[in-house]
Amino acid sequence: MLELVNFYLLPGLVLGAIYAMSATGLSLVYGVMRFAHFAHGDLMAFGAYAALAAVDALGISPWAAIPIAAAATVPVALAADALFYARLRRSLPAVLLISSFGTGLMIRAGLYFVFGPTQTGYGMGFTPPLVLGALRIQVRHLWIIAGAAVAALALHLLLTRSRAGRAMRAMADDPDLARITGVDVAQVIRLTWAVAAVLVAIAGVFLGIDTQLTPGMGFNVLLASFAAAILGGIGRPWGGALGGLLLGMAEELSSFPLIGGAPLLEPAYKTGVAFAVLVLTLILRPQGLFRGM
């Protein structure tokens, strides 16, 4: 039982927190701009590597590099929007999706070019886990969960208490009506990119802290992020957060040796969980848990 908590549930919560942050941004972008942003994972990788550059250059810890990663990722998202997506705003959502696929490839190529294809890490070294009774928790896991909770709270306050956040939700509900009330659509779109980029950059640093960095790391979590967003109800940021948590847990639990010592699912197929969740959602509840758009 404790093994379940220590080695499956807690790591699942950590992975879930990372997915949740990514899926929340994805859902925000979908809600406001109505297209599936396929470069989202690559933005995440960009954030992770921006932190790596800061860690290497300044000798700071990756935690301290988070603001730098976020600040570096926002302009990338804004530039992609200004250079590409803004010019395609009148096209079909599918065209924007294809364009974002191209953006993702460009970001990935840039990371490969600068950092090379090999796995790296932030070089944090080994720290013994905290022991709380029978619970053993990695300190970095605690920080990641706490960080995600803070990010969620900040996002909640932004969306519900600020004028700009309300405008974002209004745009997601009905863009024409938002314009009638005087909302500057271009400004809300920029804000949405900024928020999504900050969230996904933090998620990238967390993922790099929890595992490793490769230029393809973002593409690998893209499917999970979408599955989480759709599970939660696409366009609904809170749904995306919940979907991310559930999916992270499901992925870790999938390798739990429930029956006779063999894992439920071969760990090599962990990514398959995201796909299974996606397919089951589409069959059983296509609008997602929180009635997406």
């Binding site: 939700r169 009905d174 024409d176 009506l177 938002a178 314009r179 009638i180 005087g182």
Partner: protein
């Protein structure tokens, strides 16, 4: 010169024109009611004034300023508010947040605006924290009208505010519309409930296939037998 002057407006969605030269006037404190068959272009005319549909010819002047094809998001600051026919509230926002969106362009006036709207529609007070998508049709209409009134517009356009409402709610809405006009606001209203609407209209406009068919004081239109037969269902 009238507050709103629409002259010879031609326009529509994409290639095909829906409006083929429409004229319209609305003055402060006046209730102007537009009636016409389904598809006559009533909603399109309102969208053109609101800046959501491009016009190819003609002019639209508001308070003496040309506003044709100005961006929709600039209209509210000119004092021109608009309540679309459908989808006129933000369903996932609460009543209060919907009203706050009405004051988006001038947040400083939000508190005063909300107090006025709650005085006009006391039913909404209890439901201020309910998501607008969960309200009944009548309450939703009140939220939509309230939202449009938040910044004390000089002209409010209401597209079928009583569609699908019970007679009780219709009477309430018409009564509030008169109250709004008495404060000096110009009210431009499209109505399918043509008879009760024309009864309170200072001016009635009959639109047919994107053209003006008749314009006269509301009661006069009601009395016209041909208009009655063609547009008001007998």
């Amino acid at each position: 010169m009238a507050l709103l002057e629409v002259r010879g407006v031609v326009g529509g969605y994409g290639e095909a024109d829906i409006l083929h030269g429409v004229d319209l006037d609305a003055d402060a404190g006046e209730i102007v009611v537009i009636v016409g068959a389904n598809g006559a272009g009533k909603s399109t005319l309102m969208k053109a004034v609101a800046g959501l549909v491009r016009i190819r010819a003609g002019s639209i002047a508001f308070a003496g300023e040309a506003i044709a094809n100005a961006p929709a998001e600039t209209m509210i600051l000119r004092g021109l508010a608009y309540v679309p026919q459908e989808r006129n509230v933000f369903p996932s926002l609460t009543v209060e947040e919907n009203l706050a969106m009405g004051a988006y362009a001038r947040p400083a006036q939000a508190a005063a605006g909300m107090a006025r709207v709650f005085a006009l529609f006391p039913d909404l007070v209890q439901r201020r924290r309910v998501a607008a998508g969960q309200l009944s049709g009548g309450q939703r209409q009140m939220v939509a009208i309230g939202r449009a009134l938040m910044l004390e517009p000089r002209l409010i356009m209401l597209d079928e505010p009583t569609a699908g409402l019970s007679p009780k709610f219709c009477a309430l809405i018409f009564e509030r519309v008169q109250a709004i006009a008495r404060e000096g606001v110009a009210v431009l209203m499209v109505e399918q409930n043509a008879r009760p609407a024309l009864a309170i209209a200072d001016r009635g406009v009959v639109l047919a296939m994107g053209r003006n068919r008749a314009t006269a004081p509301g009661p006069a239109l009601l009395a016209d037998p041909e208009i009655g037969r063609l547009f008001l269902g007998g």
